[in-house]
Subunit: 178 residues, 2 copies
Amino acid sequence: MSPEKMQKYQREINACPLLEDVTLQEIEEMGDHARVEVFPEGQVILSEGKMSQGLWLILSGKCDVIKHCGKEPSVLSTLEPGNVFGEMSFFEMAPHSATVQAIEEVKALCLGREEFEELRETCPSISEKIAVNIVKLLSDRLRRMDVWTCELVETEKNPQRHQEWHDFRARLYSNIFD
Amino acid sequence: MSPEKMQKYQREINACPLLEDVTLQEIEEMGDHARVEVFPEGQVILSEGKMSQGLWLILSGKCDVIKHCGKEPSVLSTLEPGNVFGEMSFFEMAPHSATVQAIEEVKALCLGREEFEELRETCPSISEKIAVNIVKLLSDRLRRMDVWTCELVETEKNPQRHQEWHDFRARLYSNIFD
């Protein structure tokens, strides 16, 4: 690959929040562990509630993110090239919080959990950068959701709700051992 | 230190969720970067809304976590030896989401952001483990808060609230570029 092309490639990669600060050398190192997967239109890539651990970076095509709130499933958003998914359950074996479905042919770079473990051994600096980038993303999301829910609870007339919210947050932010 | 004492020390350290999987050798490496701080009773260690980046592990004493919801400040919880704080804004320069105040003399191990950066250079495997452990903690919190808020929104009669929640989540889970 020419130096110009490599630089362009690095800029594109770094534009993805989860790959911020990652160097070209590390990208190459990662290339040995990640694989490109192609999903036909309509294929479900992740299923809400199911377990599987991988980090996907969309290279081409689009996916819908579908999530249940109560009984109703709804399309939360549409992911495009450069978007990542799988980060919520990548480090912790937990059910996927949403379904991701290809709405046209999708090509994605996939880093499986096992490949990531190999990468941790051979190149901890890159797995460290990815982990730090995920922390930034999640702490930002958590902060925003806390503010949103706080405002919603404030509009409630029922004082019991306020107490419930207080108790829930107390558990959430402190009992890190449970 | 005797081998028995070292093992006991490692077990205690590993019992802290943020130091899971960290080896004795890495703890020693970290010891060169972290410092022990002592706070007298009543001292505010972190102020809600203020910026500063550090990760604190309580070695002895207790702290209250105080958070505003609307105008009212309330004691969310009391932290004890083994508990950690500062993780929400450690990787991202953001205002602290709560105030932490010593309610008796507190001794804490503090890893500042600059010291962490040094650690990233000299021993990326430990900073990687800490980052991965924080990801686990935050994704778990985010998932719980999502479920809690979803249930709250479900009890709302107002269909506009449902739409607002849908739109908010759509932004939260997908617009990772903003």
